[in-house]
C-alpha cells in the first residue's frame, strides 16, 4: 500500500456520510444535487422524512428531480410518468398493466443531523448513523449562529488542506483575521484512526480586527492584549470543526479558563461534487450573546467575506494545478495536519480497494 501520496486530485471514500443539503433546503419540491459524482433527487415525504434517490429514471434516465411529488412518498418521472416510492421502487408504469420487476432507482441511506441532510453513497449495510461526524454545536442550545454554502470549483481535498493549515490567514485574510503571529507560533498535531487535531496558541498578542470586534460585543470597550487559540478538529473524511477564540492575555485561557474571552466554532463539512468541484457547507457558532440576531448576521456575513477570499484562492489553485500537469506538489512542515488528513483518507480508499486516486486532467 502506498501511503501519503501528494496526488493532486484526491479520490473520496464511498463509505462515508456526506452532507447533501441544509435541512431547510429539502422540501416537498425535488432538489437536484450531485454528491460524490452521483446525481441525486432530494425531497421530503409527507411524513417529513428526507429521501435521496438516484436522479435518473430506470427507463431512459430522465432526471427525476424535474418530476413532481405524488402521494405520501412518491415521485413521478416527468418524461413517461413512471412513479417511484421513497424506497426507489416503481409503483406504477402508466403504459402497461404490470410493473417490470427490475424497475428501481437507487435509494440512498439518509440521516438528518446537526441541521444537515447526510447521505451515504457506499455500501448501505455499513451506513451506521453513529458515523455522522460530531457537529453538535450546530444544534446545541448552548451555541448560536448560522452559515452558508459555497460551491467551489476545486477538488475537495484542497479545502481540507486550506482549513488544516491556518498560516494562510496572514496572507489571504490580512484585513480580518490574519496576523504575523500565526506563522511565528508553534503548533502541535495529534491523530487517531478517524481524527486529526492541530492546536496553535498565540499569547499576548494584539487582537486582529475580527476578534477585537467580537471581544467588544461581549466586553464593551475592551482594550489590550489577548491570548488567541485555533484548535482544528478533523473528522474523516471531510469535516473540520475549528475551536477559535481570544481571551484577555494572561487570564488562564491556555489552562482552560476561557471566561475572560470569546469562543467560536467554525463548522466546516465538504462534500465532493465531482473530482474537481465540491460543496462547502460552513457555519460560525458562538457561545456568548446567544440572544443577538444582529451578531449572528454580522458574524455570518463577516465570515462569508473571509471565505470568499479562500474560494478565489482555491479556484485559482485548481486552475494552476490543471494547467501544470507535469508539476508535482511539495510539502512544508506546516502541512503536517493536512498530510495526516491525506493519510487517513488514503487508508480508507485503500480499504475500499480504490487506490490509486483519479489523476487524469479533466
Amino acid at each position: 500500500m502506498k501511503e501519503t501520496t501528494v496526488d493532486k486530485v484526491l479520490g473520496h471514500p464511498r463509505n462515508a456520510w456526506y452532507v447533501a443539503a441544509w435541512d431547510h433546503e429539502v422540501n416537498r419540491k425535488p432538489l437536484a444535487r450531485t454528491v460524490a459524482n452521483r446525481p441525486l433527487a432530494l425531497y421530503r415525504t409527507e411524513d417529513g422524512d428526507a429521501v435521496a434517490l438516484a436522479d435518473a429514471c430506470w427507463h431512459r434516465l430522465a432526471p427525476l428531480s424535474m418530476g413532481k411529488l405524488e402521494g405520501r412518498d412518491g415521485i413521478r418521472c416527468p418524461y413517461h410518468g413512471i412513479l417511484y416510492n421513497s424506497a426507489g421502487r416503481c409503483v406504477s408504469m402508466p403504459a402497461q398493466e404490470t410493473i417490470n420487476p427490475s424497475a428501481t432507482v437507487a435509494s440512498f441511506p439518509v440521516v438528518e443531523r446537526h441541521r444537515y441532510v447526510w447521505v451515504w453513497l457506499g455500501d448501505a449495510a455499513l451506513a451506521d448513523p453513529e458515523l455522522v461526524p460530531d457537529m453538535h454545536q450546530m444544534d446545541d442550545p448552548a451555541w448560536a449562529g448560522d452559515g452558508l454554502t459555497i460551491s467551489v470549483d476545486c477538488n475537495y481535498q484542497l479545502v481540507l488542506d486550506n482549513l488544516m493549515d491556518l498560516t494562510h490567514e496572514e496572507f489571504v485574510h490580512s484585513s480580518s483575521i490574519g496576523q504575523e503571529a500565526l506563522s511565528e507560533s508553534e503548533f502541535t498535531v495529534h491523530h487517531d484512526e478517524r481524527t486529526v487535531t492541530v492546536e496553535r496558541w498565540m499569547l499576548g498578542i494584539d487582537a486582529p480586527p475580527f476578534w477585537l470586534k467580537n471581544m467588544r460585543d461581549k466586553f464593551p470597550g475592551f482594550e489590550g492584549k489577548v491570548d488567541r487559540w485555533q484548535i482544528i478538529h478533523f473528522e474523516s473524511p471531510s469535516t473540520i470543526n475549528i475551536d477559535v477564540g481570544v481571551a484577555r492575555a494572561g487570564t488562564g485561557a491556555p489552562q482552560g479558563d476561557r471566561s475572560q474571552g470569546v469562543n467560536g466554532y467554525v463548522m466546516n463539512t465538504i462534500s465532493p461534487v465531482t473530482d474537481r468541484s465540491c460543496r462547502y457547507f460552513w457555519a460560525f457558532m458562538r457561545n456568548y450573546r446567544l440572544e443577538s440576531q444582529v451578531i449572528t448576521t454580522q458574524l455570518r456575513d463577516g465570515v462569508s467575506g473571509v471565505f470568499k477570499e479562500d474560494e478565489d484562492m482555491l479556484v485559482a489553485q485548481q486552475a494552476a494545478i490543471d494547467a501544470n500537469p507535469d508539476y508535482e506538489f511539495y510539502s512544508l512542515n506546516i502541512d503536517a495536519g493536512g498530510m495526516w488528513v491525506r493519510r487517513l483518507i488514503e487508508r480508507q480508499l485503500a480499504a475500499e480497494g480504490r487506490l490509486p486516486a483519479p489523476v487524469s486532467a479533466g
Binding site: A87, R89, V91, A106
Partner: protein, 327 residues
Amino acid sequence: MATSHAVVWQRATVVDSTALTGDIRRIVLAPDHPARADAGAHIDVRVPIGGVLDRRSYSVVDAGPEGRTLAISVLDSPRSRGGARAMHALRPGDTIEITQPIVDFPLRVGAAHYVLLAGGIGITAVMGMASVLRSVGADYTLVYAGRSRPALAYLDQLLNAHGDRLRLHITGEGSPLDVTELVGGVEPGTELYLCGPIRLMDAVRRAWIERELPYPDLRFETFGNSGWFAPEDFVVRIPRIGAEVTVRATETMLEALEAAEVDLMFDCRKGECGLCEVRVLDLDGDIDHRDVFYSERQKDSRGKMCCCVSRVVAPPGGTAVVTIDIS
C-alpha cells in the same frame, strides 16, 4: 443500494467446480476486471451450445473481496436447453466470457421485516441477501422450499449461518410450502424477496395481491426459465411473411425465429420488458406464459405472447401450433 445495471463483458477463469447435489454444481470464477457484487447481483455468461455462443444469467451466490472471485451455482435439469450442460463441463483453468455483476434485484437495507423465499435453485438469488441481513441485525426469515433434503444446495451452510431464521419446507418429508399461510402470516412492513419456479411466483403474487399488501414490497427475480408445462416442440406460423418455423423443446421461440431470419425486436430476453411481443392470430393448444410482463387478464385472453420465454403446449392428442403476426 448501489445498483449497477452496466453490462461490461470480460474474461473470467474457472478456479473451482464442485458438485453440491446430484444436479447442481458450484462454479467459482476469477474475473479479469473484478467489480463489487452487491446482494442480489447476477452475471450473464456466454456459453457455447452447439458451436454457437448463447447467453445465460446466473445469480452471484457469494463473492470474494471487491468481486475478485464470483461463485455461481448451476442446475442441470432434464429441461435444460444446453447452457447448464456446458457450464457443468467447465473445469479449473477454463475461461469463459462473463459480465461484471449486474444488480436488477437489489436488496434495500432498512425495512422493518424481511422474508426471503427460495424455491430450489432460487436459493442462489437470496443467499447473499440473507448474509447482509444477518450482518446488519435485521429481522428476517429465510424460507427454503424443495423436493427433498439432498436436492437442497447449501443446506448445511445455511443451517449453520441462520439457525432459527431458516424455515425449511420439504415436499418429500411431508412439509410442503403453504403459500397462503406464508403470505397470510407476514407482518405489515415486510419486504418479501422471492426467487423460484414460476408456479411459486404466481402463487405468491396472487396471495400478496389478495392480502392487499403493497405491491412494490414484493420483490422477485426471474430469468424466464421455468413454465407451467414441460417444454415441447411446437410450430409457429407467420402468414404475412409466409414463414413456418418449428420451435424445438431445447430452444426458445425467439431463438427459433431468429435462426429462421425473422426480424424481431427484443431486449431483456427474460420476459420482463415486453418488447418481443407477438400477436396471436390462431392457436392449437395453449400458451405457457413464462413472462412477468402481462397481467393475468392479458395472459388469460391469449391474444399476445412474449416470444423470448413463452411457449405453446399441444392440445390433448394434437399438435401445438400458433399463428402469429409480428411488428
